[in-house]
Symmetry: C2
Subunit: 367 residues, 2 copies
Amino acid sequence: MTLQTIAFEKREQLKQKPNSDQLGFGKYFTDHMFLMDYDEQKDWHNPRIVPYQSISVDPSAMIFHYGQTVFEGLKAYRTEDDQILLFRPENNMKRLNQSSKRMSIPEIDEEEVLHYLQQLIAIEQDWVPSAEGTSLYIRPVVIATDPNLSVEPSKTYTFMIILSPVGSYYPQGIKPVSIRVEQQYTRAVKGGTGTAKTAANYSGAYKAQEKATEQGLSQVLWLDGIEKKYIEEVGSMNVFFKIDGEVITPELNGSILEGITRKSTIELLNHWGIPVKEQKISMAELHAYYHNGKLEEAFGTGTAAVISPIGELIWENEKLVINEGQIGEVAKKLYDTITGIQTGKVKDRYGWTVEAASKTMNTSPSL
Amino acid sequence: MTLQTIAFEKREQLKQKPNSDQLGFGKYFTDHMFLMDYDEQKDWHNPRIVPYQSISVDPSAMIFHYGQTVFEGLKAYRTEDDQILLFRPENNMKRLNQSSKRMSIPEIDEEEVLHYLQQLIAIEQDWVPSAEGTSLYIRPVVIATDPNLSVEPSKTYTFMIILSPVGSYYPQGIKPVSIRVEQQYTRAVKGGTGTAKTAANYSGAYKAQEKATEQGLSQVLWLDGIEKKYIEEVGSMNVFFKIDGEVITPELNGSILEGITRKSTIELLNHWGIPVKEQKISMAELHAYYHNGKLEEAFGTGTAAVISPIGELIWENEKLVINEGQIGEVAKKLYDTITGIQTGKVKDRYGWTVEAASKTMNTSPSL
């Protein structure tokens, strides 16, 4: 890793920070952001931290027309002794590059960008909230910027990192959700972009989400795009089921996103000696396990919620009430352990946390 | 249709126009563009024609993260007597709204927007090139602008129309292309976004195109995402085959774009009494027709090329040379007729052309 000199333009008038009970998700942004540009001659260049501001984009820029873009999502957490921790951020950098490969976007230097992110968080450390369940959400995103309507990979890109203090996902305490099994719309299919964290996989899902919302349900369970039989994901989370003492999650089949919370969940279950399998599982099989009393728990995993217990699954006209609509033991233990490690309350035996910036650090690092 | 008052801010210093042999595709943009905004209170509002310029977009704007966007592509042609014609533009406006429905984007008033487009073209009429094969490419696009990272439909949008003079698709005369049948990557699948003209369907195809380019082939033939057996599209065009005197094109199955040149091709073939069928056709069937000598022609249809004859199909390790690599009679007649109607050289018996603006019109319409 050869670090490029990073320029820092400080905002003159800092913003007022919102109260932690107003945060919500992704509504407020911090004082500064990170930017870096790419072109074929200079590769990734001009890394800089500047005041958070609108960017100027040509109306013909490829991002507006052909969706060549990738992003990541991770969080920084404030510990009780005012450390700021990141959770397995090297995995996000690695996945960003995997997504970029799929979308024909030039890869970044993972270590280098992680270092820039740490510098940005050091500058913005006062923005990391401290209330229970809150965190600083980190959104790296790469966009194609060529002002050119040809349907082909862009020759120029902008990489941005923006930061948003976010509220608790469970302001009223963790509560299982009701999920609609989607039979008509498809999120992703083998050979498509489902394994990449890219724009294409998100807004295409809004129609299915609308149908769930109309029925008063909070999210969608996606089935495979080929046979509409096998379970893939829930909303924008991976999904796990506890069946007869064993935990099962759909295997990475080429259309499922490789979640970092998914990976951490599998690793924790292994450490705990709870059997866990990555395999194909159909909705019909799950339905059978439900009716013979073997479906014990269901939950989603993702950066936003960490663990989201599923209380009800609505499949066609049947409602499957799981674990009497209560959070299960395994889901609870996973939630407490992962959020505990993230916030420094539970000892990190696995080396998952990385210090982003500490209160005692110089707030104007030599940039 | 109630037309809103449209504001016009004229560019002070007009750009120098490129020579028609330098045009290429989508590289040069005219002096002005059309903009219109949407919010929940005001619906679509503030239609305006302003100097072509970069727009200012918040880094958290939903377009950069979740790909909620739709677009269209059509062309204005200059006739020998200096009329400017559009080709079936009401179909583009209709399809824009169909795409918007799929992507949870508020629909536009089709007639109203067509009227605004005509005003924009009236202002930019000197940009419509006159050389053989050239035209003014028109790109309407809607982008989601909410500065909010929630995975949900935006509450605000910007609609833009930009114009680009484009060169001949066939500067050396119409020439059949070599196409690679793609077996690994998938363009679209039933239940996904394949029928919508939206960013998601384009950059996801770059990897497959890269593989074709590496083999010196110009485009990709897409198979269905479910069984990888049935033919769907070619590159970003619809595809037709002449087999034993009959023309066959894949039926609109929920993952194929409903092309306007496709529709015009089917209508012309019907007028000419050439049998044409929309039906499922597998690559294996096509291969069999090839080997028993019944595959007579293959061609793509789309706005950019109009008709693109296919000279060779490379499927796995076999090369299928179609019609000795020459353009077929039907493809040639379609090309001559459609481009003839578009440019006023062939009488428009079908009411397909709409006058966009004529040289004798006031170049400063009362806006």
